[in-house]
Amino acid sequence: MKYVKRLSGLLSALLWIQQSYAQEIRVGGVVTSRQDAQRIPGAVIRIKGTSQGTQADADGKYTISAHTGDTLQISFIGFQTALVPVLQHHIINISLENTDSKLQEVVVTALGISKEKKSLGYAVQELKSKDIAEARETNLVNALSGKIAGVQVTNSQGNLGSSRIVIRGETSIAGNNQPLFILDGIPVDNSQLGIGTGRDFANAISDVNPDDIASISVLKGPNAAALYGSRAANGVILIKTKTGKDTKGGIGVTVNSNATFESLLVLPDFQNVYGQGAGGQFSYKDGKGGGLNDGTDESWGPKMDGRLIPQFFSNGEAVPFVPHPNNVKDFYVTGYTLNNGLAVGGTTDKIDYRFSYNNTRQSGILPNTGITRNTFTASNTFRITPKLTLSTYADYIRTAADNLPGVDGRRGNSVTLQFIWFGRQVDVARLKNYKNPDGTDYNWNHSYYSNPYWIQNENTVGQLRNRFFGNARLSYEILDWLSANLRIGTDYYQDRRKYKVAYYTNGTPFGSYTEDNYAVGETNGEFTLNAKRKLGRDFNLDVLAGGNIRTNQFEQNYQQAPKLAVKDVYTLNNSRDPLISTSYFSKQKVYSAFGSAQLSYHNYAFVNVTARNDWSSTLPAGNNSYFYPSVNASLVVSDALHIQSKALSLLKVRGGWAQVGKDTDPYQLISTYPFNQPFGSYPLQTVSDKFLKKDLKPEITTSTEVGLEAGFLDNRLRLDVTWYNSNSRNQILLADVSPTTGYLKKLLNAGEINNRGIEVMLGLTPVTTRSGFRWDVNVNFARNVSKVIELDKEGFLNDYVLGSSGNIQVLASKGKRYGALYGKAFARDAQNRIIVNDDGTPAIDPNKKVLGYFTPNWTGGINNSFSFKGFSLSFLIDTKQGGSIWSGTNYTGIYTGVLAASLPGRDADLGGLPYYYDGQKNVQLPDHNTAAPGGAAVHHDGMIFDGYTADGKKNTRILSAEDYYKSVYNSSVNESSVYDASFIKLREIKLGYSLPQSWVHRLKLQSVNVALVARNLGYLQKHVPNIDPETAFNTGNGQGLETLQIPTTRSIGFNLNVSF
């Protein structure tokens, strides 16, 4: 200690001496952008090492008092910080370099450390605030779609709900494959709670307001993210929030206003020829079988040619039976998102401050659905002394929804289920008054459904989430080369959901009421020491050591009144039956120690080493400490060999090897005995259906990555290629086992999966002119090949079930690609022809088959952007190629006869064949005019399935169209409803205009930007009919199943950003 004191005394003495010799002068000048010579108002000019500073005015001009020998530090968002020595000159004009000029790019890396991109031995890609805030997506995850190589985003349904993101394929067979989200150095939760409750609750990261984001950096795998340890195997998304420094001068007020309108992108193509009923017959009496087929909710009824038939609204009177082609479309409404935000920020010599408020109102495309979100943030930096800085960030978010759309095909809350069984003659406008005077529902059908408006207005799910996250960071520069950081952060939310099911709802005559409450919290405390030293003339060393303590808590409290005592009162007290209650609490804690070192040689050769050890509470005592290292290196060949030229602006090679360990969820070691609802006065306890494992080991992911970066022709052609290979072993899987073992699931610790891939990013600037016109093309491509190597050590298990819907399952199967769609197929003969049964229907193979894989072969995107003066125009095309999807909408809609695809063959005009029934079987007639023998009725809807009998003869058995379609498209055979999920989507078009500075200044403003933004405009290619191949109803791994999705949306909006 004594030594330190003496040293600092000496240093200050030296400084004093230096100052006493320096001469105070007034310097000033203009700050401009090197790229376009535009002035930069608001640029921050500070004298390095002091708290003295100023800001450039509206014309980019500044003045400041300085001493000769001082160094001016000039910084501004989007530009690299410049250092200029103060000599004798009084005028110092400064031009700043854009940060996106590739050579000197600085990116945010693990633990929030900014590093020169060229020093990194792995791929990192960054998005700036403009990319996120303008073409606004209410779910932050969607903003990354198509822009980052190797990132796969699966859209949610409708315009509310969840989105799934996966980077470089699935590295965990069973566990969470979502990347870790880090906001200003502190992890924030992205769980999707309540999967399987029939509602698509948004994943938690969607709480973050895009306006508050300064940049997003994507660390794609363990190589980049090893320092984050356990949760980095899936990659990390680093979010840096805006601070006072990001304010562009003036009084520091920014107003952002955004209005977006959402309409249906894809709606099934319905038929409008035949109405409700069966066997061509229908007559309404009570809607549940009292009339002629009026309990049937399919459209195999009479032709809708205006014939007179009693219908649900006609009180027994026969009225014209006519189609209502838009009866489904008309039920949907235009959704909208209104977003208004205000931010106040600024910087003084002592503090940077920024406060923002944002209000987002979203209204869904289903009636009576929506979310309102209010966000308050405060971000402050206090320069307490020149060496001690305190930064704080706090974000409070209140998300409230009165009703969220129902998903997953449940009759009580999903209207998409009803619409795929809808009578095509039903006039949806007549259903709007959904309640009878006695409180029961008024509907077209009463055997299964409640009125769709009843579902939307009575059977609602409300959500209220109060969330706080924030952090405080204290940095102290102990010595010139040594600094210490202490950071404490937390993310805590309470999420309350209220599920109402009204009295008289079909299937739930007494209704029900459920409250489902969650409290989720994570706290991190982190301490780091960072030393930077020059070693001799050639080397630089940058060392970091630190520790972290993380605590996670989770609590759920679920209570249900399964049958209400009286109607319309939704409280838990209003219950006919005993309440159903469960509660769950979990806690986990991880201690970590980590370090990293970077050694660089002449700023063109770099070696980075990291190491981390975790101690996790979720693993057993002997195995709960695990260590993992990483090493990577980069060499800027063009600098090292001095071959940099106009033709070759950059050539860099990089590579690395990394390992990360991963723990598991709490309480996975010892099996327990859960309670069941008591039987009268007898409490019930059962053996858990999960067999756990006492000696769990941590999962280990090992990843190797090499890459090449090159710039040609004055960096107008930029190439970044990455190859990677990652292997995850000791995977902890809660695998399905045969129930005959006495358990349904067993925890295994042996799974292994390999992911290999290539990512290419190609940037091109075909045109750039002196007048300021610029055209950029950015292309990204990624291909990931996954292979499940092993599931269990004993080799008993060949398949792990990731998800299922009826007969079709999504599997991780040994030796195969991840995500197999495994289901029932048609029986085929040796020549691969479909075999038909005696009755002419296709036979079904009793053994299931792999029908496809949900994982794509490759993904890519092309973004073209043009800028001229204040105008910018960009459009983004996004694609996934390969991969399959099983579509519940398609098979159900054909089975029920509502889709246009069920029309061919339904009558003579539609290509049906003539036949009669001879008492035993259908017999084909030569033509439609031939009478049947014995005066038997002649039918004209005959179809013959294209198959062969078991003994190899061409099938001749004729079926009615209804029997034909029902035998080919149904829940017992999945093969006919698996489609190629490839698509090319016009993802985004953005037209922006920044008002010229001269006009803006006349209005006493800092900047005015307007933008017209359209997202998900349409398809350039799509193979699956009637649905959007990009669909997910949760963020889990059981993807590739479409179970009556809510249509996805196209959005068009307007964004206005004004700074004062």
């Binding site: 069966a278 979720t618 609802q677 004993e794 398949d799």
Partner: protein, 473 residues
């Protein structure tokens, strides 16, 4: 610098030794106990497995339709021999993971707590479940079942092995009971060792008769042994049954009727009861609102013609079966007497088959509160009066009438006796054949594939129409 770091690392090290303890403590599950009480486990095992036994997946959408006790007027696929794959899976999963495993654990607890009565009861209940499973599916994992630490993929045993194993287990269980071990939580037989022994012996006779066509000697040995050990059998007119309670612990049939109206009584049994002038008709069936006459519905109607029947023109099963608190019957005195009648007829025991047959019918009448006098008249009617030369028909038909509601047992006995002679469902999906078993759930293909294939190779294709071992043509 070094001086700064040293205290830091000392604190770090101290923390970590303390932290190890802390970490272990954090991972103690606060949500569920690590131990189980035998009485809670017993109550749960009985309740949840009787639910499966009496519930929709195995019985209402399966056996009750196959033996034409019930039929369907909505969603008729199940009645057309197109079972839902989820139903098949649920029966299998519930019986094994909730039934076999819970009772295996209870048997172990009986040992560790030195309470042999829990162990004996656990073995009897587990045997009852295994019997349901093998009756339904044929060959099943038995010897390697519910031993996950040794067998992750249990081998399927042939049905012969299963039945013989169960006979041995039941015999052994009866030797375990003591009178000084207290059993709590027994919602079936109130912990009474004598009643459990009676139930176990009745089950032994049921199984013995089931295998009699295949292995007469083994069957005979069981009957002899039960007789030799004092014929401890169900007392006259007693039932082994679970009494259901008010919602949410209501009878599964009652629960179904609260929200659904899909099932009707089958035309087959209504016609038979009518033909015989059987007084049980008005108990087994309701009178529909619109007709004043009991009308059964033909099995296997297509959805549209079933729907055309409406809701108020045909008869549902009687309130005795559909009430909220209706009991589920596991074994009746009537069934026992039918078993003894057939045993006497076939020389498995000595005794008068006709007398026992009449006792069985009288017991069935008594079960539904019909007097012995009415029974005495009934048993003399042509078509009822016993004819030993055609015992399969007489016992088959009367046992079928007596077992109404007990779908699983009736389904097994109908297959074994080939009576009553039923017509396949009108639009059945089995090319004019009737189901003879359940198919294995598809999860077995994926999770226990090799053993599944071996079982199918031995037993025959995994189809509804494949006959199980006990079912001799």
């Amino acid at each position: 610098m070094k001086k700064l770091l040293i205290p830091f690392f000392i604190i770090w090290t101290i923390c970590f030794s303390a932290c190890q303890k802390e970490l272990e403590k954090i991972n103690r599950n606060p949500n569920e106990p690590n131990t189980v009480q035998p009485d809670y486990l017993l109550s749960n095992g009985i309740k949840s497995n009787v639910d499966t036994y009496w519930g929709q997946d195995a019985t209402m959408d399966g056996a009750l339709l196959y033996v034409q006790y019930w039929s369907k007027i909505q969603y008729t696929d199940a009645d057309r021999y197109i079972p839902a794959s989820t139903s098949i899976q649920t029966v299998w999963s519930n019986f094994y993971a909730q039934g076999i495993q819970d009772f295996t654990t209870l048997a172990q607890l009986g040992d560790s707590l030195h309470n042999p009565n829990y162990k004996a009861i656990a073995i009897i209940m587990r045997s009852w479940i295994f019997q349901q499973l093998t009756d339904l599916y044929g060959d099943i994992p038995y010897r390697q079942a519910a031993s996950i630490e040794q067998y992750l993929t249990p081998v399927y045993d042939s049905q012969r092995v299963v039945y013989n194993g169960l006979l041995a287990e039941l015999k052994n269980a009866n030797t375990l009971f003591t009178n000084n071990a207290d059993v709590q939580g027994d919602v079936l037989l109130r912990g009474d060792p004598l009643r459990w022994k009676q139930f176990a012996n009745a089950l032994r006779l049921r199984i013995a008769l089931r295998i009699a066509d295949r292995d007469f000697a083994a069957a005979k040995a069981v009957f002899d042994d039960v007789a030799a050990s004092g014929n401890i059998l169900l007392q006259k007119d007693s039932l082994v049954k679970l009494n259901y309670l008010a919602s949410p612990n209501q009878n599964p049939v009652g629960r179904n009727r609260e929200t659904r109206n899909d099932y009707r009584i089958s035309k087959s049994i209504v016609d038979k009861l009518k033909a015989l002038g059987d007084p049980r008709l008005s108990i087994y069936a309701t009178v529909p609102k619109d007709t004043n006459v009991i009308i059964g519905v033909t099995n296997g109607l297509p959805n549209d013609s079933a729907a055309r029947l409406g809701f108020s023109k045909t008869s549902d099963a009687g309130a005795v079966f559909t009430a909220t608190t209706a009991p589920a019957i596991l074994f009746s005195y009537a069934e026992q007497q039918f078993i003894l009648a057939e045993a006497a007829q076939r020389g498995l025991i000595s005794g008068n088959a006709a007398t026992l047959y009449n006792q069985a019918i009288t017991a069935s009448f008594a079960q539904y509160g019909i007097s012995a006098a009415e029974a005495a008249t009934y048993v003399t009617k042509p078509g009822v009066a016993y004819d030993g030369g055609n015992y399969k028909k007489y016992i088959g038909e009367q046992k079928w009438l007596a077992l109404f509601g007990q779908g699983l047992e009736a389904f097994a006995e109908w297959r074994r006796l080939d009576y009553p002679q039923l017509k396949p469902a009108l639009t059945g999906a089995l090319n004019g054949k009737m189901p003879q078993r359940f198919t294995y759930p598809s999860s077995e293909q994926a999770l226990n594939g090799a053993n599944y294939k071996a079982a199918v190779a031995r037993q025959g294709s995994d189809l509804l129409t494949t006959r199980v071992w006990f079912d001799v043509n």
